[in-house]
Structures are given as C-alpha cells and as structure tokens.
Amino acid sequence: MFDKQKAAEIKAAAEKWDNGVKSKLERQPERKLTFRTSSGMEIKRMYTPADIEGMDFNADLSNPAQYPYTRGVQPTMYRGRFWTMRQYAGFATAEESNNRYKYLLEQGQTGLSVAFDLPTQIGYDSDHDLSEGEVGKVGVAIDSLKDMETLFDGIPLDKVTTSMTINAPAAVLLAMYIAVAEKQGVSAEQLSGTIQNDILKEYIARGTYIFPVVPSMRLITNIFEYCSKSVPKWNTISISGYHIREAGSTAAQEVAFTLADGIAYVEAAIKAGLDVDDFAPRLSFFFNAHNDLLEEVSKYRAARRLWAKIMKERFQAKDPKSMMLRFHTQTGGSTLTAQQPDNNIIRVTIQTLAAVMGGTQSLHTNSKDEALALPTEDAVRVALRTQQIVAYESGVTETVDPLAGSYYVEAMTNDIEARAMEYINKIDDIGGAVKAIERGYIQKEIQDSAYKYQMEIESNERIVVGMNKFQIQEGSPKGLLRVDPAVGELQKQKLETLRNERDNNKVNAALEALKKAAQTDENLMPFIIDAVRTYATLGEICGILREVFGEYQQSVIL
C-alpha cells in the first residue's frame, strides 16, 4: 500500500531498529525466546508497512460489503443493527426448554438457538436402548411433532429467527419446524433461521453422524433444493469450524477445514444439478472465538476473503450474495476452566470482543459454569449481559472493521489466509474433503494440534490462569444445573401415549412412501414433511432411512 521506495526505506529502518533492540536483549531479555499466537504462528516484535508490502487496498481489503468482503458483508454493520444475540439452549423436556426460551426472549435475546439431546441428534427415540441415560441431558428431547409443538408454544415463528443445532436428521427437524409453523398459521416462506446440517464436521470432530457420506450429502442437497424454492429465507447449512477448533485445531486449520467442507458441499450441490447462485446465498458459517483476540479477528477477516475468492474464481458465482461469508460465532467452550469459574466471564468478554471486531452476524456467549455442567439461568444471564455491554458500552461497534489497517492484523490476516489455502490445496490433492476425512487426514492434523496444546500446558509453556498458574484451594461449586433423571421416563410415557393416539395407518403409509422415495433419486423433503405431519417419530423416520442407507462407520485414528 506504499510505493516501492518508501516501503524499502521503512523496511530498512525497521531492521535497523530491531537490531538495536536485539543488542540490548542480553541485559534486558524478553519474557520468551519466541512469541507465538495461540495457534503457534510466530509473532514479530513489531509490525510495519513492510510486513504488508504488496497488499493492494482495493483487491485485498476494499470497503465493507464490497468484494472480497474482508471488511464485512454489510455496509453499515453494527451501526445499522447489532448482531443477533442468540444463546444456545435446551435441556430436559420441551416444556422446560420452552420456559427457558421465553425467559431469554424477555431478557432481550433476539433469536432462538435450540440444543437437542444426543438421542435426537442421532435419530433415536427416547425409548431406544441406546438413549438410556442420555435423554434430555445435553439438550431437549424431541421425539415427534408433538414435542416440537410444545417447544415453540407461545413463540410466534414469524417473529423470531431460530437456529437449530441438528445435523444428520436436519431434514426431519426442519420438517417439524415447518409443520409447527403451519399450525400457527405461518407459511414456510415467512420462516427464517438456520439448521446446522453440516455432516462433514460431524465425521471430523463432533460425532453425531448417522448415515454414510453419499446419502448424507444427498439429504443435504435435497434440503438446499427444497428450501431454495419453498423456504427461501432459511439458512440451509451452517458450515462449522466451531467443533473443529473445539477438537483442538489451530485458527488457520479452523478456517482451512471449514472452507474445505464448504467446497465439498458446493461441489455436491452443483453435481446434483443446482445452479450455484440458487443455493450459495443461503450458505452460512459458524466459527469459534478463542482468547487470542487479534489472531481471532484476523481469522474471521481471512475466512471472508478466502471464501469470496473461492466462490468467484473456483465456482464462477455471479451473485455477490454467493460470495459473502456470513457467520455465527460461539465463544470457545474448550477455553473455559473448571477452576475458578468466575474467571471465565473475563475470557468470554475477550472472545466477544474478538467476534464483534471480526464482524460476526450472530453470537452465543458461553456461561461461566459450562466446564462443570449445563449453565444455570443466572450464569446465562451474565453471558448475555456480556454481549449487551460490548454492544452498548464498548464503542467497538461504532465503526465498521475497526482493526483494519493495523500492520499486525493485516499481516496476520494474510498469513492465516495463506496457511488455510495451503491446506485446501493439500486436501484438493487428496481428492477433496470427503476423501481427506475418510483417510483420517483432517482428524489427524487436528489431533496433533490438540496434543501439542495439552503438552504446552503441562510444561507450563502455555499459561492458563487458575489452572496451571495462580491456583487456589476451592470448595466444590454450588448451584449447578441438574437435569432430572425422570425426564427419560417422562419422554417414554409421552411416546407410548402418542403411539396409541395417532392414526397408525397414516403413519405407516407415510413411512412406506418415504422408504420408496429414498430408494430413488427423488427429493426426500416433501416425504419427510408428510411423515412428521402424521406424528411419525424421529426414530421411526431415521429408522427407515437407516434401513435404506445403512450407517456410517467411523475410522478410528490415534
């Protein structure tokens, strides 16, 4: 961004300065021999324009809402409106979760985010053998449309946007949401929200897969196609780096593997005959926010620029919306400590600042007690207040992309982009994300980073306050949220009643039709919607699909 001569002068002066500093290091040593970001990228003593030599303002940054969208996807960003404050919540029964949602909406939350329990996420009813002990634990138990009606009781679906963390059975839960809306008199065209629907990162990092890769990708492209026509405001996928980072990846790996998954979805949809600009505007992303503030801000900026280039150059997208990376952020669960949990509030604040200065579209802030249990109502309120304080009091919201032009942030943005691109090239060489997952390549890269991180903590190379430094003697934490073990029994009873009361002929006919369709190339969404309307259960619907598709076999790599 400087002319060549000027840049050379600055570089020479910086080198001279650095040599001067180095000559005094023997007397006044620095704290460490090398400084690194949380992801292990080496950090220089200081940055100058020489570090971003060759950068072109128009090509690399440009203005907000202009290609390559490094600076954000909206022209006014938070001057227009704040990000959506969306706390991920759900536990026990639909009744209890419904109460928590109403509480959060009363507290000023602006969108819902549904957490489902593990049996729901893996397509088992609450009365399945494998569900024992898991019902209602990490989220709400949903067995049928009946539970879904309760979950959104009194919440007008044309007024809220709802994000659902559901992947393998995403089509079924979306179908239930559409059916609940119908009963409220709200048409599918009016619905707005997101399903996670990102199966590749389930294979990589999160583990709630059901079906093998090919039918899973088919279900995803079926959803893309169906929603582009019938639920046009719905975000059909949230391509997630969050869990990849939680599993231990670095920031650059988070960007790389997320975008590599994104490429695989776009390719699958194009192969299924869809036009890129018909579905790509509804793709959304989901990233983590860790403590290394400036690295994280750079990460979001790098991800936006890289995705824009991929969409434009690799996939020849024409619609600017296809090139814009919109993302949700959640603060980093793995950064929270079980020790001195109050300290987690401070961590979450730093992470909130990172997400906001990185231009997130929505945000979930973790509660201080989440390294111990599900969050209590009080802890969730503090987490939400953290967002509100950053929004209303910090001032970082008043201009768009406030850290642009920092030599350090721009250099790091370039660096993360380059490292991510290197990985994407490697994955292309392997034959794409699906192949790289099947071979365990991506999982192994993440595991290596996770192990390195843990060893750095154990050698005290990396300090986590309260955990390996500044420890205190603590009593056991009080007032943690506990899910009543009776939830499992309650759900079982509800299922029994449902199976007795519904018209089982209709259920069987709908399931039979779904089975037939699954054996052809037809779009399965209409069949799944028909089935949920008859009160066929999630487990029954997924059971039929398991019969036709089979199940994914994990490749275990150490």
Binding site: L118, P119, Q121, I122, Y124, L130, S131, E132, G133, E134, K137, V138, E202, A205, R206, G207, T208, E246, A247, G248, S334, T337, A338, Q339, A371, L372, A373, L374, Q447, A450, Y451, Q454, I457, E458, V464, M467, N468, S476, P477, L480, R482, V483, P485, Q554, V556, L558
Partner: protein, 131 residues
C-alpha cells in the same frame, strides 16, 4: 510382569467429544503403555468385550454428555458379572464434583475432571493397576 500396561480407552454413550479421550490415549502411549482406543458410541457390552479381548490392565472411559452416573457403574457391574475383577477402571469428563463419591463407590477407582494434567492420570494408572 514385564509387558507394558495395556489400557482400553473407551467412549461409552452417544457423545462425540473425543478430544480428551484421544489426548489421554496418546499421553498414555507416549508414557510407554499399550493403548487401544475404541472410538465413539460404544455400548457397555462392547466395552466389556474389548477389555476382555484385549486382556487390558486398565479401562479408561470418557463421558461429556452427563450420562456418567448411568453408564460408568453399568460397565463396572458388567465387568463383575463377567468375572473380571482385576482391571483398574478410571473415568473422565465433565463430571460434577457431587457425583464423584457415588462413582467411586460404584467401583470407579478415580475420576479425572477438566484441567487434570495427563501426568497425573499416568501416575495414577501406573501405581494402581491390579495385575
């Protein structure tokens, strides 16, 4: 007995959080133990079978979903039913402190919660194996 300590690292239940299990597995291996990692979604039956088949000295289970009170004791009881009494069973994960006494009583020798250095787990296993 000169052979290395054999450990089965297992993920019972439906939860997919295996970062901890894998990090621990690798640390045990680096400490010279032979480690068999089962992968996700193992039923108690499958875990017990793995322990017997692998002639393990130690079973290390990890749960982050909250199903520990149900699944850990179930595995221990099934081991007993199969006559396996000499295997050290340890557990880890997001486990509230209030639950730990009950789990210890049920026959889990130790529970390692978030923030535990792997060196502590290694030492515990080395000092407490029963074979």
């Amino acid at each position: 007995m000169d052979r290395p300590i054999r450990v089965v690292v297992a993920k019972p239940g439906l939860d997919g959080h295996d970062r901890g299990a894998k990090v621990v597995a690798r640390a045990l291996r680096d400490a010279g133990m032979e480690v068999i990692y089962t992968g996700l979604r193992q039923t108690p039956e499958q875990i017990v079978e793995a322990v017997i088949q692998e002639d393990a000295d130690c079973l290390a289970m990890s749960i982050l979903s909250g199903a520990h009170n149900h699944l850990f004791p179930k595995v221990v009881n099934m081991l007993k039913e199969r006559g396996v009494e000499d295997v050290l069973v340890v557990g880890g994960g997001v486990i509230p402190e209030d639950d730990i006494p009950g789990l210890l009583e049920a026959g889990i020798a130790a529970i390692f919660t978030p923030g535990t250095p792997t060196s502590l787990t290694i030492d515990f296993i080395t000092q407490n194996i029963k074979k």
